[in-house]
């Protein structure tokens, strides 16, 4: 069964450094998402991406964040200058599309980002 994959599984970085988290969504899916889960807290929506542009973003997704689909398979989240409070599990998700009522999002295993 196809699944969303994410690399790396764990990333440790120093405050102020740039990080890129990578995701490979399910191949025939059209909508892509990033969420984060700070330890002990709820999963929070960051951004959705469709047709090579951001379709929705939350208040958390400020100027230090950016997303990109550099080729036909990868979907990346970049954090330009990491802060301690960016430490969290970051989940990538994908969805097939709205046609046929396909609204469920499929999540990857996550990347644990630790900012020191």
């Amino acid at each position: 069964e196809p699944e969303v994959t994410q690399t790396p599984s764990h990333q440790v970085t120093q405050m102020g450094q740039e990080v890129i988290l990578r995701c490979v969504p399910i191949s025939n899916h059209l909508y892509f998402y990033w969420y984060r889960q700070i330890l002990g807290q709820k999963v929070e929506f960051l951004v959705s991406f469709y047709n090579n542009e951001i379709s929705e973003k939350s208040e958390i997704f400020d100027d230090q964040f950016s997303v990109e689909r550099p080729d036909g398979s990868n979907f990346t989240l970049k954090i330009r200058s990491t802060k301690l409070e960016d430490s969290a599990m970051y989940f990538c998700a994908s969805r097939k599309g709205r046609s046929g009522g396909s609204y469920e999002q499929y999540f990857g295993p996550g990347t644990r980002l630790t900012v020191t």
Binding site: K42, V43, Y50, S55, F91, R98, G101, Y103, E104
Partner: protein, 115 residues
């Protein structure tokens, strides 16, 4: 804006006993409803969903949830739990009809199965 409330942060239950995990939502528009499960050290897996039609939806591993519009609830139930059901369970909503695309999650309920 919509919100999801999962009142119970932890639910301990004995193996083979029934369980109900509560989920209430608030939204000024129609929503789709989901339950996700997160096993230890793993990502989120879709357990079941309500989009339309029958208000009772079932998963392949014995869980079911019932959409109650008047009570704005989507409680998750299982008649007999197993040790392997130990996990974090998240209720989530999505605004229907296009537009807002991100899921709004509850804080999660940790289901602890005691032998």
């Amino acid at each position: 804006a919509q919100s999801v409330t999962q009142l119970d942060s932890q639910v301990p239950v004995f193996e083979e006993a029934p369980v109900e995990l509560r989920c209430n939502y608030s939204s000024s528009v129609s929503v789709y409803l989901f339950w996700y499960v997160q096993y230890p050290n793993q990502g989120l897996q879709l357990l079941l969903k309500y989009l339309s039609g029958s208000t009772l939806v079932e998963s392949i591993n014995g869980f079911e949830a019932e959409f109650n519009k008047s009570q704005t609830s989507f409680h998750l139930r299982k008649p007999s739990v197993h040790i392997s059901d130990t996990a974090e369970y998240f209720c989530a909503v999505l605004v229907s009809g296009g537009g807002a695309d991100g899921l709004t999650f509850g804080k999660g309920t940790h289901l602890i199965i005691q032998p």
